[in-house]
């Protein structure tokens, strides 16, 4: 995706945007495959160093990266 507004530096933003766009698309398709009436509302990725919160929408994505 193309970042619209960011608080990080440009290269990181672009990287996050691109990768997470794909991931949310996959996650949404997985959810809908299982149950077509269902839809993805929120995606949380917890790793050793950060936690990434993604809120998807039809056109936009809101990504929050949290440090412990």
């Amino acid at each position: 995706g193309i970042p619209v507004r960011t608080t990080l530096d440009n290269s990181t933003t672009v990287q996050y945007a691109g990768l997470l766009r794909e991931l949310t698309r996959k996650a949404r398709s997985a959810v809908r495959d299982i149950d077509p009436q269902n839809d993805l509302t929120f995606l949380r990725i917890r790793s050793k160093k950060h936690e990434i919160l993604v809120a998807p929408d039809k056109d936009y994505l809101l990504i929050v990266i949290q440090n412990p």
Binding site: T41, R44, E51, Y60, Q66
Partner: protein
């Protein structure tokens, strides 16, 4: 002759010989009348008959009969030039044959002429003439067929066999008979092995020819050749106008409103619960601690001893090298009692005392040796610069060494150990004597201690922050870096010159009461610091009113730069600023005028352990009493007599800065600073004496105590507080020093030295390395509980 010819298939040709005379008679002389081409001669029959009658022997005699029977009148005689029939002439016996012989050549010639004419006219068209049926001319073949065919020579005999008439039509009786019962009711042709075919052919000559199979094949492929292709891309980005536009668009606003609630919930959840808590790990730890009895042990790793230098000596102090892995230094001293030492007039008998450096790679040969003027009681590596080592001697002097030249060698000793086989080089190296480093500074005897230096500590360097302090005239910072104490009742603070030793000290400048230590920036002519090195501050531990002197053996100070803050514009922590002049407790050496400001945020309290087993808690900061203009110490000294013998260990816990472990005599105690009533934990008296001890570096509730029977007691406050959780015997003689060290995250070592001059390095087991979960909090709780009981 004639008969012969008839069998050869030409019955009408009779070869004749004509003599010359006959030839003349019949005008068939060879060469004249008859030639090859003109070889036919017709002779009348009558002439031949006449000839036959007249001549006695005529040439026609053999064919006389033929001639007589000849139907025609003229007989043909042909000259046979080529002796085709055996003679030079032959007679043709029949009319037909005569005709044939005379005519066919003509016809053949005619035909050939015709054919030539025809060929010239029309070459291709040859009308098809069906073969004309000709009568069969026998050429004698039917005779051969007759001979070869098989004919029955004998007439066949006919037999007729029939039964007697009366037997026909008679009634029959039929019975069954088993064919196999009667022997010869049937004839069998049993197979048998014919002997002629038994012989096995063992060798057979067989001809073999090999022909390679050759096959031609061809293919055609489409050859795709590789081509370098590269793409360069950069991420799509919106221009700033587009960004503005999309930011302000309604869609974005709707999106944000819908999404922000979810995000808030998630963030709140994160706040409430720690999302990075690893449940698995916590589970595992709980299980292991609640287990029955995990193995607690100290595994022997290596032991070092040197027969030459460390024989009959006791090891007084053991220190690990702070930075280089596997290097440990050991100081030894003679095991003489005081009287013996005093009475020993001939010092040359004593072996040169040394500090020996061992490396894990070589348990037999020491790596480095530091030459000591006297027996060293204790020594320490400087934490900021491990190449500087300070040691306290048995006569009260303080000695400094600088091993910068050998640092590389020590580091290489470690790397060589990593190799599997010691190379020849290393063997050669080890066979050499280890290098002996002479001390680079020794304090003056006058101003050192009067009794052996029993404890020496490095204080962390104060910062060399020149820019902060403009008011100080003296640019160089005077930091007290070395603290020594001795049973003569004094604590000395020493300074090390800022730059590398040997540092030329200046000759005496201004002197206040005691002689001065020179600021390092003043140049000097003397080369060594030897015997000119003087302490900065000397504190006498004596109560003015009680008049009792303490003889400290161990001292424990808080780190003096504990509360330094860089953000505030404070003057750099100069200890000199704290002390007022002219107190009976403290005798200061100051160079030039300085701003003396009393900074109250510094903690100046200290613990000392004395020879008699007392623990004294005091401070050395003094203030001017406004009334009597006499410096009075603010806090009273506290003394506790708990231990039964000399204090040999006084150590702050690496985890809690205000908790101190004191070991001496037959028991040990744990103190908390601030609690004046007594120790928060005191052990019962044990049978043997405790001779050494140390906190564990990784587990807050564990410490090691060495005994005089060579045992190590491992105490774990989380398990039992009334007895050690594990006792292990290390050596036969008393343990003189214990020092733990973290070699790697998995390998922790415990260096234990004993009175025989042997250094044992043990590996600490895993249960003693890894703290239990919440151990820090639990131990803190325990200490606080105990403190509360005291109140």
């Amino acid at each position: 002759h004639a008969i012969l010819l008839s069998f050869t298939g030409h019955p009408e040709i009779f070869p004749l010989i004509f003599t010359t005379k006959t030839q003349e008679i019949f005008n068939c002389r060879i060469g004249e009348d008859v030639t090859e081409k003109n070889c036919f001669k017709l002779i009348k029959k009558e002439d031949i008959i006449q000839d036959l009658k007249t001549a006695a022997i005529s040439d026609f005699h053999p064919v006389k009969k033929v001639v007589l029977e000849y139907p025609g009148e003229e007989l043909l005689v042909v000259f046979d030039a080529k002796f085709q029939y055996g003679q030079n002439f032959y007679l043709v016996a029949s009319e037909e044959a005569k005709e044939n012989i005379l005519k066919p050549p003509e016809t053949a010639e005619e035909k050939e002429e015709e054919k030539e004419e025809n060929r010239e006219e029309a070459l291709e068209v040859q009308p098809y003439k069906p073969p004309v049926q000709k009568p069969w001319v026998s050429l004698g073949s039917e005779r051969e067929v007759e001979e070869e065919s098989v004919k029955e020579t004998a007439p066949k005999i006919k037999y007729m066999v029939s039964r007697v008439q009366r037997r026909f039509g008679a009634p029959l009786t039929l019975t069954d008979r088993n064919a196999s019962h009667v022997g010869d009711s049937y004839v069998e042709c049993t197979p048998y092995q014919d002997k002629t075919f038994i012989i096995k052919v063992l060798e057979n000559d067989v001809g073999v020819q090999i022909v390679p199979k050759v096959r031609e094949a061809s293919t055609q492929t489409k050859w795709t050749y590789p081509k370098n292709a590269a793409t360069q891309y950069f991420p799509r980005q919106l221009s700033s106008e587009e960004k503005e536009e999309s930011l302000s668009s309604k869609k974005l606003k709707d999106f944000l409103t819908s999404v922000h609630l979810r995000m808030e919930i998630a963030l709140q959840q994160n706040e409430i619960m720690n999302p990075f808590f690893d449940d698995w790990k916590a589970l595992a730890e709980d299980e292991s601690s609640s287990d029955g009895k995990p193995d607690v042990y100290l595994k022997a790793y290596q032991s070092f001893t040197d027969l030459h230098y460390l024989k009959n000596k006791t090891i007084s102090c053991v220190c690990w090298h702070p930075t280089i892995h596997g290097i440990i230094a050991v100081s030894a001293r003679e095991q003489l009692s005081y009287e013996e030492q005093v009475n020993l007039s001939d010092k040359s008998l004593l072996q040169q005392p040394v500090i020996v450096f061992w490396s894990f790679s070589d348990p037999v040969h020491p790596q480095l040796m530091l030459e000591c003027p006297q027996d060293i009681y204790c020594f320490q590596f400087r934490p900021s610069d491990p190449n500087i080592i300070a040691g306290g001697c048995v006569n009260g002097q303080v000695v400094l060494w600088d091993i910068s030249e050998h640092e590389e060698m020590l580091q290489n000793a470690k790397t060589v150990a990593d190799g599997i086989q010691p190379s020849l080089m290393q063997v050669q190296q080890s066979s050499r004597e280890p290098p002996l480093v002479r001390h680079c500074a020794i304090s003056s005897i006058q101003y050192s201690h009067k009794k052996p230096v029993t404890d020496i500590h490095w204080q962390p360097d104060c910062s060399e922050d020149h820019q902060m302090d403009a008011t100080l005239e003296n640019k160089a910072e005077i930091c007290m870096q070395l603290v020594t104490c001795s049973p003569d009742g004094s604590i000395l603070f020493w300074d090390i010159p800022a730059t590398k030793l040997p540092q030329p000290p200046s000759s005496g400048k201004t002197k206040v009461k005691e002689s001065l230590y020179m600021p390092p920036d003043v140049p000097d002519t003397s080369k060594h610091l030897d015997f000119c090195w003087k302490p900065l501050i000397k504190i006498n531990l004596c109560e003015s009113d009680i008049n009792r002197e303490y003889s400290p053996t161990r001292i424990s100070l808080r780190e003096l730069h504990y509360r330094y803050k860089t953000s505030e514009k404070m003057q750099p922590l100069n200890i000199l600023q704290l002390l007022a002049k002219g107190s009976p407790y403290t005798e200061m050496n100051i160079s030039s005028s300085k701003n003396l400001k009393v900074l109250e945020s510094i903690s100046t309290d200290f613990f000392i352990g004395t020879e008699d087993g007392e623990i004294v808690y005091s401070d050395w900061k003094v203030e001017m009493d406004s009334d009597s203009a006499k410096p009075v110490s603010q806090k009273h000294t506290q003394e506790y007599i708990i231990h039964t013998g000399t204090i040999n260990t006084l150590q702050r816990s690496p985890f809690f800065k205000d908790t101190i472990l004191s070991i001496g005599g037959r028991n040990f105690a744990i103190w908390k600073e601030g609690i004046m009533n007594g120790p928060i934990l005191q052990s019962s008296c044990s049978t043997g004496r405790n001779t050494a001890g140390h906190w564990s570096l990784t587990r807050p509730g564990v410490f090691f105590i060495g005994r005089d029977d060579g045992n190590i007691d491992i105490w774990d406050l989380m398990k039992k507080t009334y007895e050690p959780c594990h006792i292990q015997n290390i050596s036969k003689s008393a343990i003189s020093f214990i020092s733990p060290w973290i070699g790697s995250p998995m390998q922790h070592f415990l260096a234990v030295s004993d009175d025989l001059g042997v250094l044992h390095v043990l590996e600490i087991c895993q249960t003693l390395i890894y703290p239990l979960i919440h151990e820090l909090a639990n131990v803190l709780d325990y200490f606080e509980r105990e403190a509360r009981y005291l109140k």
